[in-house]
């Protein structure tokens, strides 16, 4: 990926993630988040991790964000003034972001390789075949455990939804 393209995409991702926290309306914030996720997916693809980039687009930008949209509509969230919120929450948020920035700084100061030093990678790096070989051989147990975890989550979600539908006024749209 040429440097100018990287700088452009990085700037776009920063601007759109600022949009997530500076917009007043939840739906606008959500759209900014979708844009951020797509730009990050494009960055992944540009860096050679094609499969991860497209999976990011399918799972996060395509599926999870639509669920966010549904939740915003179902809870009927409206525009919030920026100064709303409790002081304690703001303090916790500030501390958390300070910790994140410190972590990022520590990482940048102790990079494993100096910036501008490129490591050669295999030509099929990031391809779906390479990813699948890793997933189904070396990391098979982790992969299977994750899938069981997801399955439990799905079954739990269905069980919870059924109980509310039977107890209260369950209905469809």
């Amino acid at each position: 990926m040429p440097l100018w393209l990287f700088i452009f995409l990085a700037a776009l991702s920063i601007i759109s993630s600022l949009g997530v926290i500076l917009q007043r309306h939840p739906v606008h914030s959500l759209l900014a988040l979708v844009l951020t996720l797509i730009v990050i997916a494009v960055l992944f693809i540009g860096l050679g991790a094609t499969t991860v980039g497209f999976l990011q687009m399918i799972v996060y930008a395509g599926a999870i964000m639509v669920l966010f949209l549904f939740v915003i509509w179902l809870l009927n969230l409206q525009s919030q003034p920026l100064e709303a919120g409790r002081l304690a929450l703001k303090l916790i948020g500030a501390l958390g972001s300070a910790a994140l920035i410190a972590e990022l700084l520590a990482f940048v100061l102790h990079l494993p390789a100096p910036l501008g030093h490129e490591h050669p990678v295999a030509p099929d790096y990031g391809s779906i075949g390479r990813l699948a070989q890793g997933l189904f051989s070396r990391y098979l147990i982790a992969f299977e455990i994750t899938s069981i975890l997801l399955l439990v989550g799905v079954i739990g979600g269905v069980a919870l939804a059924r109980r509310t539908a039977a107890g209260g006024a369950g209905g469809s749209m």
Binding site: L31, I58, G62
Partner: protein, 369 residues
Amino acid sequence: MAIELLIGAIKAIIVLVMVLQLSAILLWFERKGSALIQDRIGANRAALTGVGRRLGMPNLGFVNTLMADPLKLFTKEDFVPAGADKFLHAMAPFLAMFPVLITFAVVPFGDVLIIGNYHINLQAAHLNVAALYILATIGLGVYGVSLGGWASNNRWALLGGIRATAQMISYELAMGLAIVSMVMTYGTLDLQAMCHAQGGVWFGWLPRWGIFVQPVAFLLLLTAGMAESKRVPFDLPEGESELIAGYFTEYSGGKQAVFMLVDFAEIVLVSALITTFFFGGWQFPWLYPDGFHLPGGAFFALPNLAVAIIGIVSFTVKVVALCWLQILARWTLPRFRYDQLMRLGWKGLLPLALANVVATACVIVVGGV
């Protein structure tokens, strides 16, 4: 380098223009086709100042309708309802259009065309994970419709948007799994390689098309694709009798025209994908890169240019035929009820698609294909 960029740009423009043209022609196709089905004449009023008719020329309904419909729509008032989110209201039609159009970039419309030293792969963008790309762009198509419904500040529009989102998410699963079974069958995510894999014949005469291997996946992709394009019998999001026009109730003029064009572009997209996965893409029966090898053993040599053109025409004819099939279904079937729609998606198509994937995997492992 410059010439390669130019070739890429020309291919992209050709694909874009072809898709938009076909979508616009489908509008006329649908008006005339529905008239044919319902024993009417249909779309016969548009005439350029009546000159042609006065001179005794044949009715130019086709040309006139193609000009009159967009002219009428684009000169109408662009109305934005009070309390609407103006920015998103204007953005929504284009958010719906964009993912559909960029999906065509990976659909191969021909084999290799050789001009001088250049071997031109007739596909706007060659991507070796094209199937993933398709799933990603189709997933983004939800936003235009749902935000159009939300930004209109209208309850019918919002209901239409919510229905559209729920429907598209539900049928995306079956669609994705149908594509997965095709990926397993061909052992590649590359659409051009899939088309190449469908060349050749079985038993000396039957083309090696995907539909003969995966008929269930074909039906799944066709059904889910029609549901994705939100037309009858899956037109719950815009059901006129309940929701006025659903998510585009509050749209008029040019934006409404774009939403309509998205519907037709989606029909073309579904047809193009089905052609690529199941009907050999640009493959023509018994045509090989060097010419025709007929079942009887006869052989006609053809130059590369002729083979490439036959391939492009073959792809176009298949796409148009599948578009016609979808229009035929739209004017034949009644609309589903909402619960029937959801039951078909989640209890019908999804388990069938999963079973198909498992069966495909079993055949590949046991048969060693």
